[in-house]
Symmetry: none
Subunit: 210 residues, 4 copies
């Protein structure tokens, strides 16, 4: 009779067992999403993959979308965390670019499959769209700041708009991660990092520190 949510919303698990189950569902959901795409992402299959019964899914997640949001949040958090690790201490700007490209590529490796899927499934979901934007902004912002510093130090082409450049070069890295890890083009990761870095350095007119 169209009740619309009569049952209380799931709450965070209280016991250790509950936490384990919830984590298993989250992991299974992400795994399925990455390996089988939307086709494998049904509460039934997620529950089965997590080794729990059907109904248990709804003990921890309000809906399929709720799980999806949790997965995306997890992926985004991982990207934020990774981006904090080892903010290149190298002195040589080119070495820093290589490290940064390698780092970006790795971050996208784990995230791009999920984020690509979501980009299309998230037609209406505001929470998701916002998360997606935040993730992109994180990288664009960092890239733009890095370039600005190089420009100020006189080590990069002054003509480039930092933000636009960061967007364009970020697009390159993101799409390459997709090509390598999702489309599985047989490209060597080191080779790709090497080329991307050379192209990137040349593109911004990187100069050796005098």
């Amino acid at each position: 009779m169209g009740r619309s949510r009569t049952n209380p919303a799931p709450t965070a698990p209280v016991t250790a067992r509950g936490r384990r189950t919830r984590d298993a569902l989250l992991a299974a959901g992400r795994e399925l999403l990455e390996t089988r795409g939307w086709a494998g992402f049904t509460p039934e299959q997620v529950a089965a993959a997590a080794g729990v019964s059907y109904g248990t899914f709804y003990t921890y997640f309000e809906s399929k979308d709720d799980l999806l949001r949790s997965i995306v949040r997890t992926v985004a958090d991982q990207m934020f965390t990774e981006s904090l690790v080892a903010p290149e201490t190298a002195d040589d700007p080119y070495v820093r670019i290589v490290a940064s490209n390698r780092g970006y590529l790795r971050a996208w490796r784990n995230a791009s499959r999920v984020l690509r899927l979501v980009e299309q499934g998230a037609g209406e979901d505001d929470t998701l769209r916002k998360l997606l934007l935040e993730v992109r902004e994180l990288y664009v912002h960092r890239g733009a700041e890095g370039l600005r510093r190089l420009q100020e130090a006189g080590l990069a082409n002054q003509d480039l708009d930092p933000r636009m450049t960061a967007i364009v070069l970020g697009a390159m890295v993101e799409q390459m991660a997709h090509v390598i890890y999702s489309l599985r083009e047989p490209l060597d990761e080191d080779d790709v990092v090497d080329h991307m870095s050379k192209l990137w350095a040349a593109a911004i007119g990187l100069r050796e520190r005098p």
Copy 2:
């Protein structure tokens, strides 16, 4: 996806009226796919949008997947055709790069929404995956050839692997098309072409013809 067949296989339309109906379904299908994504892509809605009755859909297409393949083939054909048009007659390499980037961006503008969707929905469909690869290969190949010619003429950095470079720079353009046209970031198209061209030219170490 991939049921067994009991229906009479649709044959190519014989009459002009038949061709018109088939074309209307194709166009409606593509339109819906581009505007509403998978959600709007059902035989019933496609038929309605094409102004024919539900059952008629199966007179012209064996299945929903069959229509999808036809749409992708159409999109791919358009890209091939466009890529043949006026292979820049300009003499100045930089002007050619700008023209080429603008051309690529436009080609992707019409294609990227559909191709992105298909990339993920086409889990198992070999026909589709092959088409997708062909499209990408078209651009990679052309890009690599262009670079090789510049290198041979001594106008570009000889250290770069032409194919890898074409892949990386192609990734940049493809993703930018997605960012602009699907994610609708408010970026000026000319501005993007300008920056991409500058970065591209610098990246490959483009030199003025002596």
Copy 3:
């Protein structure tokens, strides 16, 4: 992914066959509602009782609630229609009261089971609540008008408020219909009509036309 209505809403049947199927579903739904209450009122059971397959239900009704609304509309329409039939031409006011009570009782006989059920299931449905109010108002209004005419003719107690009296006496008839036809108290219908009429006549102080 929470699409929310992607498929077109069911339209009125075009062919005779379609009309038959829709009618069968309506009839089966009402029958089940009357005999088994909410428990029997599931799309699956309705479809089975109508002799069609599950999916066919949704060819004609947008939802379970949609069918319910249609049923209630049918019931209400029948009550309106019946109330128009043969507005007793008898001259004697008491005879008219008897006829009217018998008519009301019969009208409620067919309606009360459904209307009672709906009264509680219709928590949120505005369409339904409005229909229910209209049905009640129909009878209250007619009763009040009848009394007012008698009062003006000096044939009934002038002290009574016509509307309040109609509400109270209408309540009596409605509830008696429920007692007899739904609770199946073994009471003779004629006997009930006889007593109700006597009580009613006395209650309003009905006087013989001089």
Copy 4:
């Protein structure tokens, strides 16, 4: 409704704390039933409203139906109790009728929401149907006896069958309680009592004690 049992049968609470918990569940169940109807009447919500954990529900009640039966028993008991509270101290029969009508209305005020719901949900439950009948019989019997005494005293119309009359007039009161308290028609309670009493008195041909 009516599963087989594997659970230890709940026993009557021994400790004071146990009794308090059981009472809290009963009260919460009734409250939910009255305010939200069937939609709010789930073991989980009842437990939450009573401030105990989910599983505890089944420590005190064998099933949801068990709680329902207990609630109905409570409601019925209240009606029996209230009906004993010796209203008729007045000497004047009309005053007694007013008092009685007011009393009946109040009794139904608290009961009618629950009893109406149960009347329909109790499709198969014998215990419930019996309880419902007993409640009605209580009022019919009392009404019939009252009328019989008046008839014997020559103060009421001798032609009326006491039981049938009590049924009909009882129906009137019960339904009016529903109209006022559940449907929330904006009627003044005193006004209703006044009219019902006048109608009732006139209906049975009540005469002043000579």
